[in-house]
Amino acid sequence: MELDALEARITELRGEIRLAKAGGDDDAKVRRLRAELRTAERAWDDALDRGSEPDDAPPLLPIREQVHQALTLLGAPSASRVIVAVNDAFFAGRVAATQLTSLRRDEERSFRSSPYARPYYLCAALTAELLSPARGLLAISTWPVAVRIIGPLSPRTDFLTSAIRVAEHMTRLTGAGGSASSGAYRLLTRMARNIPGAVEGFGRADPARVVGAANAELVVHQENDRRDRHAAAERATTRLDEVTRLFGAGLRSASAS
């Protein structure tokens, strides 16, 4: 069988490359072996593809639409991991975290070339202190600036807010006669584990209880957080131009990197 022969050859080549590298052989030999390995791997891919039909996925919403949908549900600046998880749980999405890495930069480029051409942009959250882009978080340009500000308490309040929004969305779904997926319950349960009193033992989280518990903690932080955020938002509105207001100021701007 062709595949088996190719696999054997690939393994053999990899071994030879390791030997050559470990033995300090000249680079030329290693390069030649590498080239041969790549050829074999391509041949293997081809052989495999001949065996199976290409996977025809249904056309999807563009990535930015999906992210927008997830962020709208979450209601707070979020990390790509959370966006992917929400997308999986509620929208049967097919977004991979790796697809989100360049999203913010692309959006900034688009905004710079023709500002406000789109109804919304996926933009940055801003650190309260320096109004620089907060690492790894995505937000929506149409949100009030204060929502996009990250103060010291914001990571926690945003987490609690997101948990509440996820739970409420599930309640909406069940109330409307539908049902939340098991993936949604898994997501909620995972979040609930880190909220005091939101879930007991190892059972499945109950949306109503999560809302109650998260709100109970949220009120503790809310006032201080709101104050921090509004103070910073005021500074952002007065001091930043329209690009940096969305994509962050700082000692190194996103477009320069």
Binding site: A79, R135, S154, R156, M191, N194, E217, A249, G250
Partner: protein
């Protein structure tokens, strides 16, 4: 006479020194009796390059799977505003509900320059120390600084410092599993030594800032996956002994001139020379090889090869060496055993013992299936 730093620069052969990091500082305690390693470390010489040049590279390396796992676990612990960590600290140390403030010092307004981050770290910690809980609980990616062998070294802990009731703790996130409350004791020890470096540096920072260093706790919060799942669990580690040991090792490094004084003035470990020349240069600094080095020091395979060539009893391990009561070479042991060698007075006792064992083994030479060395 040259100053020690001058000498060390010369040993390096004009190349910039490699920076120490928490791992290399923690490793100082691994074999402090080894002059060779002490000199190489103090001079900031890249030991693996030397070992490769000498033809004895150490087969150290980390599996990409282990690296992925470590990264993924750390992300998980810090995800959602450190939601897991907040839960664990509430459970283990009684952190109160309002204490959730999180400050990331991985960059300052997008700038990652060390000096900037360090200044920010100082400012944040000072404010937290002075104002108490209101101005911050969790500090991610603080950048610490520590003088090592006369050089200022930045330490980039992937850890979080946090304060509770006015005391600051280090949080160390590791991806080895804690199964039923136990973990691999070697890995726990390594984690303890590593976090002791951060505790030490944080204490030094406090002291330099005029803040009571005792406000840095010697109890480190070790966060690991629980059992076979990814769910994080926290354990408190008391690193007082590691701190004491670290203190000793760091002060040893500053006494490196004791060794340097005995080295030829023109000595250099520059990689410009041939492997044979480099080997000769390296050998002028005495090593203290033990088999444990193989898993800890980049130079170990070179040192072992040397020890084998000399027939040194070091290759047999510390326990065997100790039992041989000061005999240095395997040949000497065999000769004394066979009675072929003139015995000096200080060898009389060990010689008697060896000959006795040989005689008894002889009794059974015909009966036993085993070969007698």
């Amino acid at each position: 006479m040259n100053s020690p730093n001058h000498r060390l620069d010369a040993l390096r052969g004009g190349v910039a020194p490699v920076d120490h990091n928490a791992r290399t500082i923690a490793a100082l305690a691994g074999n402090p009796g080894c002059d060779r390693r002490a000199v190489l470390d103090a001079a900031g010489i890249h030991k693996q390059s030397i070992a490769v040049h000498l033809g004895h590279p150490a087969p150290f390396g980390q599996s990409p799977f282990a690296l992925d796992r470590a990264r993924a676990f750390e992300e998980l612990v810090k995800a959602d505003g450190c939601a897991h960590l907040v839960r664990l600290l509430r459970e283990t140390l009684g952190l109160s509900v309002p204490e959730v403030a999180y400050t990331d010092i991985a960059d300052v307004g997008g700038n990652t320059a060390h000096q900037l981050r360090h200044t920010r770290t100082l400012a944040e910690l000072r404010r937290a120390a002075e104002d108490g809980e209101r101005s911050g609980t969790l500090f991610d990616h603080p950048l610490l600084k520590l003088p090592v062998a006369g050089h200022e070294v930045y330490l980039e802990p992937s850890v979080i410092a946090f304060q509770i009731r006015g005391r600051f703790h280090i949080v160390e996130i590791k991806s080895f599993a804690v199964i039923d409350g136990t973990a691999d004791s070697g890995q726990v020890a390594a984690a303890s030594r590593l976090s002791a470096v951060y505790v030490y540096a944080l204490k030094a920072l406090f002291r330099a800032e005029g803040i009571d260093p005792d406000r840095v706790s010697h109890e480190v919060v070790l966060v690991c996956p629980k059992d076979f799942a990814n769910h994080p669990t926290a354990t408190l580690l008391d690193v007082r002994q590691q701190l004491a040991s670290l203190n000793r090792q760091l002060s040893r490094l500053t006494r490196i001139d004791r060794i340097l004084d005995h080295l030829p003035p023109e000595l250099t470990f520059s990689l410009e020379q041939s492997p044979a020349e480099l080997a000769r240069a390296i050998r002028t600094v005495e090593a203290r090889y033990a088999p444990e080095c193989l898993s800890a020091c980049e130079m170990a395979y070179f040192c072992r090869a040397d020890a084998r060539v000399c027939g040194s009893v070091d290759v047999l391990g510390r326990a065997t060496r100790d039992e041989l009561g000061g005999l240095e070479s395997i040949d000497a042991v065999l000769d004394l055993t066979a009675g072929d060698r003139l015995t000096s007075p200080e060898q009389a006792e060990i010689a008697d013992q060896l000959r006795y064992v040989r005689a008894v083994y002889r009794e059974h030479a015909s009966a036993g299936a085993e070969a007698v060395a």
